[in-house]
C-alpha cells in the first residue's frame, strides 16, 4: 500500500493526490456504511421477500416485522429497558466518581498519592475478563445474580475515565479557582459539586457517552450474571437469537431486532459526533 502511494505521489501533483485520497475515502465510507444500509433495507422486507434474494430498495414490512417481533418470544421491551437502566446508571456513576477521584489526585497533596496515582495507571489496561471468575463467584456469594448492581456499581472504579478526567483537569481546572472558593468559605465537597463539576462538563459529556455505549454494548459480563429472561439486556438477547434455530426464524424479525439494538446508538452518535470524535483525540497520549 505504501509502495503504491510512493509511486503515485512522486510524479503526481497535488490535484492527483487529492483525487486518490477522495477515491480511497469513498471506498472506505462505502465499507463503513454498506452493512447498515443493507440492515435497514432488510428490516423493511418480509421473510418471503428476503428468501427471494437481495434488493436495493426498501419494502413496506417494517411495522409488520416489528409487531411480529414484539409479540414473539424474545422479551424485547424488558431487554431495552434493562439495557437503558444499566447503561444510564453506569454512565452517571462512572463520570461522577471518576471526576471525584481525578479531583482527589489533582487538587490535594497527600502521602499515598505518590503510589496511588501510578497504581491506577498500571491497572488501567487489565481487562475485566481475567478477573471474571472471581467476580462471578463474588456475585453469587453476595446473592446478586440476576441483579443489576454488579453491572452498575463497578463502573465507579474506572481507571480509563479517571485518566481522561485527570488530563482534562490539568488543562482546564486552575487550582487558584479552588483556593478562591475556599477563601469564600465553600466546603470542599460543595466546591467539588458546584464549581468543579460544572467546569468539567465537556469532559463529563464525552465520557458519559463512552461509558453509556460500552455498557450498552457489553456482552461478556452481563451474560455471566443475568440468567432470568426478564433481566436480560439486549446483547444477551441477540446471542440468544444466534443460538436459536435461526433457519426457522422469520428473517424480517431478525433484522428488525438487530436494527433495534444498533440504530439508537447511531442516532445519538450522529447528533453528538463532533464532541465524540474530538473526545477520542483528546484522550490519546500526547506523543
Amino acid at each position: 500500500m505504501e509502495n503504491m502511494n510512493q509511486e503515485t505521489t512522486k510524479g503526481l501533483g497535488i490535484h492527483a493526490r487529492r483525487t486518490i485520497a477522495y477515491v480511497v475515502l469513498a471506498i472506505v465510507t462505502f465499507f463503513c456504511l454498506f452493512w447498515f444500509y443493507v440492515l435497514f433495507i432488510n428490516a423493511t422486507r418480509s421473510n418471503g421477500e428476503l428468501q427471494a434474494g437481495f434488493s436495493a430498495l426498501p419494502s413496506n414490512n417494517l411495522i409488520k416485522n416489528w409487531t411480529n417481533l414484539v409479540n414473539g418470544t424474545l422479551p424485547i421491551w424488558s431487554g431495552l429497558l434493562n439495557s437503558l437502566i444499566v447503561a444510564t446508571a453506569s454512565a452517571a456513576l462512572c463520570v461522577y466518581f471518576s471526576t471525584m477521584t481525578a479531583y482527589a489526585i489533582h487538587a490535594y497533596e497527600f502521602k499515598a498519592k505518590r503510589f496511588i496515582y501510578p497504581f491506577i495507571l498500571m491497572i488501567m489496561m487489565i481487562p475485566t475478563q481475567v478477573t471474571a471468575l472471581g467476580f462471578v463467584q463474588l456475585v453469587s456469594k453476595m446473592k446478586l445474580e440476576d441483579s443489576f448492581i454488579p453491572l452498575i456499581i463497578p463502573s465507579i472504579a474506572a481507571p480509563v475515565t479517571f485518566f481522561y478526567m485527570k488530563q482534562y483537569m490539568e488543562s482546564s481546572l486552575p487550582l487558584s479557582l479552588i483556593e478562591a472558593a475556599r477563601i469564600d468559605g465553600s466546603g470542599e465537597f460543595r466546591t467539588f459539586n458546584t464549581i468543579v463539576l460544572p467546569l468539567m462538563k465537556p469532559a463529563i459529556a464525552v465520557q458519559a457517552i463512552f461509558t453509556f455505549v460500552s455498557s450498552w454494548n457489553n456482552y461478556f459480563t452481563p451474560a455471566l450474571i443475568l440468567h432470568d429472561d426478564k433481566k436480560k439486556t439486549l446483547p444477551i438477547l441477540i446471542a440468544q437469537l444466534r443460538s436459536a434455530d435461526w433457519l426457522k426464524f422469520d428473517m424480517g424479525q431478525v433484522y428488525v431486532m438487530i436494527a433495534f439494538s444498533i440504530f439508537p446508538v447511531i442516532v445519538v452518535y450522529l447528533i453528538l459526533s463532533k464532541h465524540i470524535v474530538q473526545g477520542v483525540a483528546l484522550g490519546s497520549v500526547k506523543g
Binding site: 485520497a21 472506505v28 456504511l33 481475567v130 463497578p154 470524535v277
Partner: protein
C-alpha cells in the same frame, strides 16, 4: 497555615474512598480469588462436584500440556495480525491525509464521523448482522450471484480462511477509525515548522511521511500497537456470536477468552483460574511496556 493545608488534604483521601472501596471489592478481591482458584481442582464431572482440592500447579501443567491453549493462542494471534496490519496501514494513510495541510481535504469532519461510527456499534449485534448477511442464502451471496461473480452460494462460515477473514475484517472495521483519530492527533501535534523546512528543501510528501512523520510518531505507534494487542487478546464478542460459541470451522476461530468463557460456563473453576492468571500475566507485561513508553511523560505532565 500548614495546619490548614493538612486539614484540606484529608479530603484527598475522602474523595478517593469510593474508587478504592469499589476497586477492592469488585476487582481486587475477584483477582485474588481467581488466582486462589487456579491452585485448586474444582469442576463438575457429570452431576458430581469434584473438589475443591488443593493441587498446586497441576492446573497450569494440564492447561499447557493439553495443547488446546496453544491452538487458541495461535488463533487469537492470527486474528489479531489479520486485523492489525491492514488497520495500521489504512490508519496511517488516512491520518497523513487528514493532517496534511497542503492536501486540504474537504469534508474531513464527515469522513471522521463515518470511520468512527462502527466503533460504537454493539459487537454482538454487528456479528449477528454479518452472520445473516454472509449466511449461505444471505444478501451477500445473493448480490454476488446477481452480478455473476459466483454461480452457487459461497459458504463463508464453513471455510477457515473466510471465517477468520470475516472476523478480522469486522474488527478492523470497528477499530481503524479509532486508530486513525489517535494517529491523526499525534500527527497534528508535530511541529509544523519541520514540515515547512522540508518543503523548502524540496522533499516530496512521501519523503516527509517516512523521514519526519513516522519517526516522530513512534511513541504513539507503540501505544496503539500494544493497546491493540491487549484488545486483541480480549477478542470475544465477534467470534462468539458469529460461530455461536463453537469456534468453527474446526476450532479455527476459537479465541482464548472464548476458551475461558467455556470453562466459566461448565464451572471448571480450576482451569478457568489458571487460564485467567496466564492472561493476566501477559496483559500485565504488555501494560508495563505501555507504562514505560508513555507513563513517564504522563506523570510529569
Amino acid at each position: 497555615m500548614k495546619g490548614k493545608a493538612v486539614r484540606y488534604n484529608k479530603w484527598g483521601y475522602i474523595f478517593l474512598m469510593p474508587f478504592i472501596i469499589v476497586y477492592v471489592v469488585f476487582q481486587l478481591i475477584p483477582m485474588v480469588t481467581t488466582i486462589y482458584n487456579s491452585f485448586f481442582e474444582n469442576y463438575m464431572s457429570g452431576l458430581n462436584q469434584i473438589g475443591p482440592n488443593f493441587v498446586g500447579f497441576d492446573n497450569y501443567v494440564s492447561l499447557f500440556s493439553s495443547g488446546d491453549i496453544w491452538i487458541y493462542a495461535k488463533n487469537t494471534m492470527i486474528l489479531w495480525i489479520m486485523c492489525f496490519i491492514p488497520q495500521i496501514l489504512l490508519s496511517l494513510l488516512l491520518g497523513a491525509w487528514f493532517s496534511d495541510v497542503r492536501l486540504k481535504l474537504k469534508g474531513a469532519r464527515f469522513f471522521k464521523t463515518v470511520i468512527y461510527l462502527p466503533n460504537l456499534i454493539m459487537a454482538s449485534a454487528f456479528s449477528m448482522l454479518f452472520f445473516t448477511l454472509f449466511s449461505d442464502g444471505g444478501p451477500i451471496n445473493s448480490i454476488l450471484m446477481q452480478i455473476g461473480i459466483i454461480d452457487t452460494p459461497y459458504k463463508f462460515l464453513s471455510n477457515v480462511g473466510s471465517t477468520r477473514g470475516l472476523i478480522a475484517f469486522m474488527n478492523c472495521l470497528m477499530w481503524f477509525g479509532n486508530t486513525t483519530i489517535l494517529l491523526m492527533a499525534g500527527m497534528m501535534g508535530i511541529d509544523t515548522s519541520l514540515f515547512e523546512a522540508a518543503e523548502v528543501d524540496g522533499a516530496t510528501s512521501t519523503q516527509v511521511f517516512f523521514q519526519i512523520t513516522l519517526p516522530l510518531l513512534r511513541p504513539i505507534l507503540v501505544y496503539v500497537m500494544i493497546t491493540s494487542l491487549i484488545g486483541g487478546l480480549q477478542l470475544f464478542d465477534v467470534p462468539q456470536i458469529l460461530t455461536n460459541g463453537t469456534g468453527d470451522p474446526m476450532r479455527s476461530t476459537m479465541t482464548l477468552i472464548m476458551f475461558l468463557n467455556k470453562h466459566l460456563y461448565s464451572k471448571n473453576y480450576g482451569m478457568a483460574g489458571a487460564l485467567s492468571v496466564v492472561l493476566f500475566i501477559i496483559t500485565g507485561i504488555l501494560s508495563l511496556v505501555i507504562f514505560k513508553v508513555t507513563g513517564n511523560d504522563k506523570r510529569k505532565g
